[in-house]
Symmetry: D2
Subunit: 266 residues, 4 copies
């Protein structure tokens, strides 16, 4: 068992984002922030269907340098605009120590992506920004390594950390990754931290997002992170796994998480 685990429940900064309430936190939004219209449209759809936080990538870690690399600071500005219009807190990825300050200026929660789960320089610095951190699991990281990475963040005194399981790399090719609910449950038991699941990356297939979302919540997971795009076919990244606003609404309905009719109209 790592030092400091399990963490006491009910961290106030996480409570402010909707964790520890007994109701799942639903983070949704596009893979990448692309245009003002796109992010605002996505944010409104997320809000209307009962989503509780907005996601969207401004700094994007892309396997190929020839792929869309994100809008950078302009993307952060658009996310802040979407927050202003919908009231949804925003979470977005930080890829380098040099960007922590600027991202922390705009975001409510800072995300460490899978590829940087063991970027220790970044982990050491990010805790000091004074914002909650969402730590995605590396695609070949064991639970033990994942929790060891948490300690690089909490060592700064910031224990507002949420874990996100997003699929591991296995031999199977019928889904992009293998969503590992076993480990999500184990990480939750061992760390005492909230653990959410990302079925969009965890499956890579729109037809699997809904069944695996239901599975994760049934397993007692604290929330979901789901890619929703106003027009997935035209998305600049992750075309095959982003769902439409309509599919998101239908998913929220099947999870029993759609806001009351009266609220939804607001």
């Amino acid at each position: 068992m790592q030092h400091g685990f399990p963490f006491p429940a009910k961290d106030p900064n996480l409570l402010a984002l909707g964790f520890h309430t007994g109701r799942p936190v639903i983070i949704a939004g596009p893979c990448s922030v692309e245009t003002e219209e796109q992010i605002l449209s996505a944010a409104r759809a997320v809000k209307a269907a009962g989503g509780t936080m907005l996601r969207g990538g401004a700094f994007k870690p892309r396997t190929s340098i020839h792929s869309f690399q994100g809008l950078g600071v302009e993307g952060l500005r658009l996310l802040a605009l979407a927050r202003q219009q919908t009231g949804l807190p925003i979470v977005t990825e930080v890829m380098d120590t040099a960007h922590i300050e600027v991202v922390a200026e705009y975001a409510d929660m800072l995300q460490i992506g899978s590829r940087n789960m063991q970027n220790y320089a970044l982990l050491k610095e990010i805790g000091r920004a004074g914002k909650p951190v969402l730590l995605k699991r590396g695609l070949a990281a064991t639970v033990a390594e994942w929790l060891a990475a948490v300690e690089y963040i909490t060592d700064s005194g910031n224990s507002s950390v949420v874990l996100c399981e997003r699929g591991i790399r296995t031999f199977e090719t019928s889904s992009r990754n293998t969503l590992d609910l076993n480990s999500a449950v184990v990480a939750r038991l061992e760390s005492g931290l909230p653990v959410i699941v990302d079925p969009s990356h965890g499956t890579g297939r729109t037809d699997l997002v809904a069944p695996l979302s239901r599975a994760a919540l049934a397993a007692g997971i604290d929330g979901l992170m789901i890619e929703v795009h106003p027009n997935p076919a035209c998305a600049l990244s992750d075309k095959d796994q982003q769902i439409t606003p309509e599919a998101f609404r239908s998913l929220m309905d099947s999870l029993g998480l759609l806001p009351e009719a009266s609220e939804a109209v607001r």
Copy 2:
């Protein structure tokens, strides 16, 4: 896509075992048949808690030759006795073509274990026994290979096949295997066959059996196969993953599958 897929729903032989009814099939019982008292006690507990089929190994594939190898035909006889006393149909593993006939004489459903998923001689013969077949996924088999193995069985004209996902082998060590719900859902979509999940082997940890059982059913899976032993600490195999009758009852309760009070008293 393999030839013959997807299979038409509602195979009558599977319907007789409780598949295709909209209600999950719950197969439970000990890893191995050990004694008359043990299997009868387990069978009664399974029945009382609402289980719909009885499992128990008579011929056991054990990694080490120094481990308990099963009771063989005597184990089959005890399973038949348990069926007589509880009315539960029985499923048990066949490990070799030479045993198909004798196992088919006693069992209601013939199981192909993970290690034999690509034992093609066995697959070719087993379909001819005229009994439904439960085909477990090999621990490193892709969905495509799993469905290709189905065709070795159905080629004999017997299409009463049920698939069982039981965890795959990955780098992760905090659970014995990685339960792969992604692939269970994909196999169900592609084959049209019923797919069940074995969270006992799929996790190898008693504390994960309940959350992953709930997850599997929430994902739309057709049933569960769960190891239940009257006294897991003394089990001759799989000590760490068999649950007690009390834990099984509690699991069935949490799944909303406990029989009505009046029925349970019978």
Copy 3:
């Protein structure tokens, strides 16, 4: 450490096949026996280039039932004919207990394929046939499981066992499997048994067969098993990994294993 390991070196039955001599044993031949002309042509090419045993599948474990399934007993007869003409001992796969007797009648060494490494019924019986056994590693088997499988064979009193590493299943897709020389060396150290490597299955690419063959011998491995076909493009199985007689000759030359010119002319 498993019981009985490490085995004493210099088993006489293995010595008779060329193991324990300090010179690598080179087993070569087609994936499947297809026709008399094909197997005789392959056997002559193997012999001429310095190969020491002939391989060829008569009973074939194929992922799809729609693929060529092997010639069965007729294939065994053709292998025996090739042995008669070249003097090369033959090794061929047994897939089921029901075939052990007939294969043992023809073959000098009985092969257990990867998919059957944990077919315990087969392992228990095969040792009793009185022939040396070649045990291929399962594609997701640990070294510990592989050596535990050996004990199912040696429990019959037959310790003439040779191990064959043939690639494991990983996430990598640029080669068909990942040849695991680490484990081949470990298995050799721990078991005391001869260990050979199959770079044809271990890589699945003709352009990798030669470099990985050289690597295996440099690591101290006892021999190689290589797929050689007179006309790979027309092969009924494993087209992409079988090499031509010319490529085999060139490989043997680069390994310093080509017979003296005078012998080759015979």
Copy 4:
């Protein structure tokens, strides 16, 4: 195929470090720089046995924050001192964009470690430092992803890149990682860049370093990276895989790479 591949052979900056000469480049030295005495002693041993470059970590990526984190800039200074005394060029890891400038001031070659293979912010910046880059493969990276990462470096106009295979993560536990020579050979064929192999991390076992080193060179690989420590039992990191100066000398002898007696005496 990625853009720009394969690269033309004979990059002058790499030639200056001994690549492209037909003779393997042997990089050796301790996992971490610990003290002046330790690194100087290691450097002298590496030089005397015929090693061609010195390795040593100053900034260390450690799974646990409770482990030794490296000496930082002081470590770089000690490496430079070792270079001054032995003439060996030095390679050391950069973990963050903020450290590129200082590391480039001291090192002859900048290493990107496995955990940062997809740290794109770092990859984009490092090429601009004007030094050759050693890019280690991520422990679950495909060859395609590895070569895509190269392009993040070469996009800056710096094509002095060497690849290093250091073992991948698989299910096998008898060695720390699985050294993947298949992929090392494929990466070499596809990229045209020099590829070296790190059998220390690739096996994690001192008894496997020599056989796998021989295997790698026999497969045509361009060099080796080997952990050598004056006193492995007291090492502050990677105790189980660092070899002694004597073992390194013996390895170089078995590779036929020991300097002539007259030179060694110098």
